[in-house]
Amino acid sequence: MLDHNPNFVLSVEGLTVSFDGFKAVDDLSFYVEPNECRVIIGPNGAGKTTVLDLICGRTRATSGSVNFKGNELLTMREDQIVHAGVGRKFQTPSVYEDLTVFENLELSYPHGYSVFGALTFRRNDTVKLRIQEIAETIFLDTLLEEKAAYLSHGQKQWLEIGMLLIQDPELLMLDEPVAGMSVAERRKTAELLNKIITDRSVIVIEHDMGFVADIATRVTVLHQGKTLSEGSMERVQSDPKVIEVYLGH
């Protein structure tokens, strides 16, 4: 942990969390390289979302270590983890429904994080340009004035991705980004993801195997809080243990 390997952006080692004795994540280790797109798959209850929660500080680990570019994330507050460069998208789209698309993006603009900063934050041209640029990326540039509440499910998902993009994180964690989307939206999302994962590391949780094959650099299969298998899509798909778990499921 101390001798941080610069080859990895993220090193997860011995990560364990237990809820009243039930180990949702059990001694898990994996490593993410720069510009890698890691997809985590696994049956329901395998602990996928919990792993993301642990990395971004939403759930406190029982033991283990999560090292991000030399920082131990387990001892940091959520907002500090974000400042270190980790972005997280939730499974259900969480956007601010009472605010407009523009305001949603503006609140994610990485400036004015302190109380004083937020009071004196000015909406200048740099901010507006940047928001415009992101809005185009996420196909919402015509809807900037719209309340987020009125967006479709897919559009909310994109908005949330946009809120992460505007912060330009080095590690982006996406929890089921295409769940509940129409086929057309799904295609557009794949296109969007392919565009944004090029210059950063990404961890994605996804069920849709076609989609996974489309974007994954490497795949980790979780089962009962442990790594069942890890490697390229082809390797994982042919792993007998994986087949057994999925068929048995």
Partner: protein, 308 residues
């Protein structure tokens, strides 16, 4: 402070003080159980809880008056009838309140607080208009107001024993209802996942109404019992509200066991401090300790650690 006393005197005092703590514990349990059901299981902040208790007390008063007038021979046992009347009176009022107000507010828990506060004001004025601004004196059968001399020095108040027995009985009844009946299963299911409970065919609307009604009914019984130890007046209910909420919150909302544990710890702390300090300071210290612990452990004494 104890130098002048013999060991037997001290022993007797400590025995009685321990008993005083237990009575206080029972009082807290009775106060809090109804609220624990309503607040803990339904998330409704019922600020009119005290007024539901006082309704029970007034029902006891009415029953006692009726018995005195028409059935003087049975006066010595009227109290049991009165508690049943109190349960149904407060419970029915609870059903009505749920139907007319609370059911529209389940998604806005903080608003239930305001609406029920309004309700409590109205109820107070109703009591004042009906029963007068003065406190009413509830006659208690003689056998309940005496004390049992255990030894020469130790005397145990019978109404204390009565309150304790009642607290145990009601706790057991509530426990049975919540954990052994199908209704209780439904209530717990709804408190965990309302949408899913609805989907699997539980009549959530009726279950909610019944839950609220039972919570209020339990409050009514508590109020009935408190006529033995406290006053019955239009505003007497407000005396209980802070203590009651603290007991429930301290125990951890949603946990009946927690409510009982919290009633026990708060009552013991208060009882012991009252003995060694003056009354007002004991109260302040107790509240401060409870609030202090809640700040460190906001989820209360008992709560499940859930996977988000």
């Amino acid at each position: 402070m104890f130098a002048d006393y013999s060991m037997s005197e001290l022993g007797a005092i400590f025995a009685m003080q321990g008993f005083a703590g237990l009575i206080l514990f029972s009082v807290f349990v009775l106060m809090a159980l109804g609220l624990a059901i309503i607040f803990g299981q339904m998330g409704v902040i019922n600020m009119a809880h005290g007024e539901f208790m006082i309704l029970g007390a007034y029902m006891t008063y009415l029953t006692s008056t009726l018995f005195e007038a028409y059935l003087p021979g049975l006066f010595s046992i009227y109290f049991f009838i009165a508690m049943i009347v109190a349960f149904f009176a407060s419970g029915l009022l609870g059903l009505f309140v749920e139907w007319s107000m609370i059911r529209h507010l389940y998604k806005r828990p903080l608003d239930t607080l305001l609406a029920t506060w309004g309700l409590s004001l109205i109820l107070q004025q109703v009591y004042r208009s009906v029963f007068g601004a003065r406190e009413v004196g509830v006659s208690i059968p003689d056998w309940m107001m005496g004390s049992l001399p255990l030894t020469d020095l130790v005397e145990i108040p019978i109404n204390g024993i009565f309150v304790m027995v009642l607290a145990v009985a009601i706790s057991l009844a509530v426990y049975y209802l919540m954990f052994r009946s199908s209704w209780g299963l439904q209530v717990r299911a709804i408190s965990q996942n309302r949408v899913m409970a609805d989907a699997v065919g539980i009549n959530t609307a009726w279950t909610d109404r019944l839950t609220f009604g039972i919570g209020c009914g339990v409050a009514g019984v508590a109020g009935s019992a408190f006529t033995m130890i406290g006053s019955t007046g239009p505003t007497a209910g407000q005396l209980y509200i802070v203590d009651t909420f603290l007991v429930v919150v301290f125990g951890g909302a949603g946990s009946l066991l927690g409510t009982i544990a919290s009633a026990f710890s708060i009552s013991q702390a208060q009882s012991i401090m009252e003995f060694f300090l003056s009354g007002s300071m004991a109260k302040v210290l107790t509240l401060l300790v409870v609030v202090g612990i809640l700040m460190i452990r906001p989820q209360g004494l008992f709560s499940l650690k859930l996977r988000k």
